[in-house]
Symmetry: C2
Subunit: 426 residues, 2 copies
């Protein structure tokens, strides 16, 4: 045998960094994990889901339909309910055709849609621009497809358009603009920083990309990954890019949403709104991958939405996450050295903490090992940065999640971590 | 814009042929479809699933666990139950390590596993050998990855090893052996022919491939797609290739199974047993695609198996499909011209009918149109043949499914089709 016979993707694909984290956590029953991106366990809607499934499968219902194959693009009622809700949520500002159910695809969580987008658009050597830092599981999917990545920093309004312009100029200089396929924003309560992108910033990004498209020679898509949008707990909502009154909206914006995180992560139902060409191509990929998301899960979500249980559950968990975030922030104020920069989140599951540059937080760092020895786990910031050859990865940040950790452990976990931080920073 | 910006996969991917069939069926309320590969609707386990989910989510259960994220490779109990059942089913002949739960991956139906295997193994231009004819949805997935396909005919025992040898010799002559990555058998009640591969044939195939591996320079895998195995209704079971006492078994055989078809297609849970290297790579792909099949569905299957409801449902549907197959075969004997060759199936969902070569059955044929005009739909045989440049596609066969069509329509559907056939063949 001269080779293992794997494809280039098979050769290229790497173990997800999170598997390292999980290995480190093994055999430590006392560990408090502030790393897991799971959602709150205690508020999972067990009673509601039982009632919903009882209704979907019960007397007088069409139980058979829920247990039969559906269609590749998704249940038509779920597509309609989702499109309608999204239109209203965005203030019904834009024409309804932008939010047509015909443009909406149901997927196995939002992750599957991100994966299929990278398949539909990216050949090895193509370039995707992401936020710096960003959602690291998607980085793994891009890496496996041989995609190159450029990171653009965030400020409090979202992706930095000045830096975006200079990255695009550099790519143009290097003759690489034709390789740029999409820009990915995690636009609400970003994983990992908690930042929400303003509507003006989304508009500015679309304008900016339009300038560069002629040199690229093809569309440059904007993926708005809005999976944390429903997990807002400080009031207010920003319209999605679909609400912008520019023609690019229906041709360039891909909106990615999910019912998994706000309702139940064990029910994997995500969705996306896609330009026509991508709807066709991604729909075909979905056909090849699984010809449709499990119908029972889709029917469950239809029933959850139709009966108002989805909305009332979302209200409940917003309150829950507000409390958990407050607990975490109070503990940080009390126990973390004051040099550490962080912000009280307005939604989502994360607090992002920036240490002085002299204090590395990475998997190989003494700080990470000391935290582990004291039975507290965080996500090293470096894992959230893409492999971008044009800059070094910052390695002095950490992502702290209040999502999955039980309320009563947040305080203890932050206190442990704060003690470690003081030892390293004093 | 000089291009649409799609990847090569995006450019290459074609609409599935089944979408044509479905379009043709639209707006014909009287149509009897003998085309759909769906399962029987009336026997779907609505009551059982309701009870199972009530138990999974009810008092005293760990309902939260079922609604939380699981792990990428699948629920450990489901992996254990599945591996154990498979080992017993195969007569426990081989050592238990071959059936280790560590080698078992849970997927979104078997389709996702087939898709991931083609990603893990095949670059554009690589070659997959399939049965001629075969399961056409997988052909679409292979096509989208730029894979080339060779078809090898079937006899009553499975894939024809003489023809396989001559295909491999030809590939060797053309210097293409290093591109051959896997051979795919739909080994039980094959879609579309109904043929089951004998154990001797599987052993012969493994021996044959071992001869050619040195020239290939890498492993040539055998994918045993056993998704119809549980739908046997004429008694007897053939052990899978995993039962063979040769060392290649744990290194070369990929066994693909599913709970969707035998239990409920709206609950998409499939599984596979994989060699170590592929378990690693496909597991990583699964992580990138969705980091794990919906946990609620997996817990439902655990409960279905553990309570014996899965086994008793399978007993019930075997009886059901036996009756439907009998009805279809009786009607074929009565209404089809006697020159048509077909065989009473012993399992699965299909009858495969071969017309005289002078009577084309394809989507463009007069016969297909006449059948549609008379409100009966079949799958043209040509759709089940790969694009293999080395042979012309046979176009005088049809796949008839008794799976989804209601019992009382089978007779009428076959009678309609028989009348059309007589017009064309008399």
């Amino acid at each position: 045998m001269t080779s293992n016979g794997l494809s280039r993707l098979g050769q290229r694909i790497q173990a997800p960094p999170i598997s390292w984290l999980m290995k480190m956590a093994l055999g430590r029953p006392q560990l408090i994990s502030l790393a897991a991106g799971f959602t709150d366990n205690e508020t999972l809607p067990v009673e509601e889901t039982r009632a919903i499934l009882e209704e979907v499968l019960g007397a007088g219902s069409n139980g058979q339909a829920a247990l039969q194959y559906g269609t590749t693009l998704g249940d038509s009622e779920l597509r309609e309910l989702t499109a309608k809700e999204l239109h209203e949520r965005d203030g019904a500002a834009n024409e309804a055709s932008v939010y047509s159910p015909e443009r909406l695809l149901i997927t196995n969580g939002s992750q599957q849609l991100l994966y299929m987008l990278s398949e539909a658009l990216c050949d090895p050597g193509d370039i995707v621009i992401v936020e710096d830092p960003t959602y690291f599981v998607f980085l793994g999917a891009l890496q496996s497809h041989g995609t190159e990545i450029r990171g653009v920093a965030l400020d409090t309004e979202g992706i930095d358009l000045e830096q975006m312009r200079s990255v695009l100029d550099q790519l143009a200089n290097d003759g690489l603009l034709p390789r740029v396929k999409m820009v990915v924003l995690v636009s609400y309560y970003q994983n990992p920083t908690g930042i929400t992108t303003s509507l003006e910033r989304k508009a500015g990004l679309l304008r900016l990309l339009r300038e560069y498209e002629p040199s690229a020679g093809h569309p440059i898509y904007v993926v708005e990954d809005a999976v944390y949008r429903d997990l807002c707990f400080a009031g207010g909502d920003t319209p999605s890019a679909l609400a912008l009154s520019v023609p690019e909206v229906s041709e360039r914006v891909i909106y990615v949403g999910t019912y998994s995180k706000p309702f139940a992560t064990g029910i994997r139902v995500g969705y996306g709104v896609l330009p026509e060409l991508l709807m066709t191509v991604v729909g075909r990929i979905k056909g090849n991958q699984d010809f449709g998301t499990a119908n029972l899960l889709q029917q469950a979500m239809v029933q959850a939405i139709r009966t108002g249980r989805y909305a009332s559950h979302v209200t409940r968990i917003r309150q829950r996450y507000a409390e958990k975030a407050e607990t975490m922030c109070r503990a940080i104020r009390e126990h973390f050295p004051s040099e550490i920069e962080w912000r009280h989140p307005r939604g989502g599951l994360y607090v992002w903490a920036r240490l002085p540059e002299a204090v590395p937080t990475g998997l190989d760092s003494e700080l990470f090992q000391a935290a582990l020895d004291d039975d507290v786990l965080y996500v090293p910031g470096e894992l959230c940065y893409a492999e971008d050859p044009t800059r070094a990865k910052p390695n002095h940040e950490m992502r702290l999640s209040f999502g999955a950790v039980p309320q009563e452990q947040i305080q203890a976990g932050i206190e442990r971590l704060g003690n470690v931080l003081r030892r390293f920073m004093d």
